[in-house]
Symmetry: D2
């Protein structure tokens, strides 16, 4: 019942640090900042590089910003663009930072189009710049999940991973949960 | 060549959130605090529960403090105690927070004694209380690795995982690295 | 030309720590928090007690929340209420935490009504909870100014104090400045 | 009984923002950092400029680092050097950042040598870099006190100011207090 297949272990360790990971940034709470003149939240640059540095990450990553938007404003066209970049990326393992509100929707779109890649969407409930963010925790878990999960589209939030076809954000609690258990 | 076995995926998702994880705390930089009267670093309580809350973790974990020590002062007896707790824990998936200086040594001891469990050691270079800690990132990655890696003893640091028999801390850089590549 | 009057010094030191200071809270950026479910900023409780504790303040203060509002929404009625509380407070030295947008306007109203008390308005450009706030710095300076300035209505921002009749917030820079120099 | 002398007020406001303040840095907990390779605290650069920026300070200051030491290791020679710089500085208003352990001793030395200048010593119980520091609060109050107190040597800690001849650090509580009340 326990996953302890020798061949599996071997494959895992063999691939491990030849591994290169692509990170696509799409915005979301993760990267929001506070505009002290207007009192509003806005996007400037992504904090991903700073977060990876703080985490002393030593993994080979390529970061590219695709858009910097609130996920409530993400259109189907935006999702097609994300899917296109996932398809054409040379990497097989991809993290997408994304607003939490429509993260599950984007995961579904990707699940319909991308095969044979491990794609992990993650985000944050509190902006990284606000000091008490869950972003660093989520990034750490997303980086680990993307290295170890088999091909498929996943969401990494709340210390867990969810398959794209079995996840929703609970609007009352802000937590991600499985549709069925 | 890519891990996309249907059965594997199924097994993964089936087990996932029935999963219960044990966390053993042993001290290390992770949990150090600053004594403002003496100017020295010391241990009080573990920050693990606070960190899991900040990360909005929704995973079923059991936390137990085994010791609160600097890993340079960890004796063989201490390591036997940790191994004993790993063996007798009812959980198959265990995280150990540990000082980084002798983390690889403890991993080796555990590798010689524990079979058929996934054990992930992690820690931090900067105390969690100091604001700029890598601890939250490492905890997120350790939680993800412990859920997805096959049976074995691992170290999760710098966004990577290392097998117990192939890792050392580079004293010059503070980074963990493989002995051979 | 330098203020080094012996009698003055004597008076200062004599009064100093019999001194009791009143703090009135009215809201403003100072006390805003981030609602992770809606992505909006809101007011809950004041962070003043926590800030004074962090600053290891040992001054005798009485804190009272008069309102918890954005200063752009402050009405003349609100300002009359603040003035009333300043007049009837038993303390001669009063700090008011206030949104920066209309802080100068409230100072003007108070200057027209309160005599023989030292009243210092202060606030923040970044919420205290966001980690990179100027609030703690401003609170430290306001507490010092209120102990040392002669009777009058002042604004303490940007490390400076301004007399109520000679100050405005520069909307472009977010800095407070004198009307005339 | 209340300080509301018109001439005094006038003098205060007249001088205010022609005012230039000198800051001398001597080290202390304020500026300590954590060496993640050795686990020890050490000095690198001062965080004063960063702190003033965080506080959005708009005051004309000249910063100079005289030494970067733990105040327990401060010699009489060091104190003479500080006194010399205070005497020869062109500014009449000077802040000295200093370790708290012997802050009162340095204040006494300065009180014996410097006349007609307002000098405020301040420091912190927790390093600025540790996130939960009292440093920003103390710096805000020191900047305010140095602008408003008459000539003399003072310590600004715990939201209060103390005259050099009437202050000690309570080693049990870490708080500064008057010798006599």
């Amino acid at each position: 019942m326990f996953l302890n297949n020798k061949l599996f272990t071997f494959t895992f360790l063999l691939f491990s640090y030849a591994m290169s990971i692509r990170i696509f940034i799409t915005g979301g709470t993760f990267d929001k900042e506070y505009n002290e003149l207007t009192g509003e939240l806005f996007f400037k640059d992504s904090h991903l590089p700073e977060m990876l540095k703080l985490g002393r990450s030593n993994i080979n990553v390529e970061i590219r910003t695709l858009m910097m938007i609130d996920s409530l404003g993400m259109t189907n066209e935006d999702r097609q663009l994300i899917a296109h970049h996932c398809e054409t990326a040379k990497e097989d393992r991809i993290i997408i930072t994304h607003g939490t509100d429509t993260m599950a929707e984007t995961a579904t779109v990707l699940a319909g189009k991308i095969k044979n890649k491990t794609i992990v969407l993650t985000g944050a409930m509190i902006p990284y710049k606000f000091g008490s963010s869950d972003g660093l925790f989520n990034l750490g878990s997303a980086l680990a999940f993307v290295q170890t999960l088999p091909g498929g589209i996943y969401i990494a939030m709340n210390g867990k991973y969810f398959s794209a076809d079995n996840v929703r954000k609970n609007k009352q609690t802000g937590m991600f949960e499985e549709l069925s258990k």
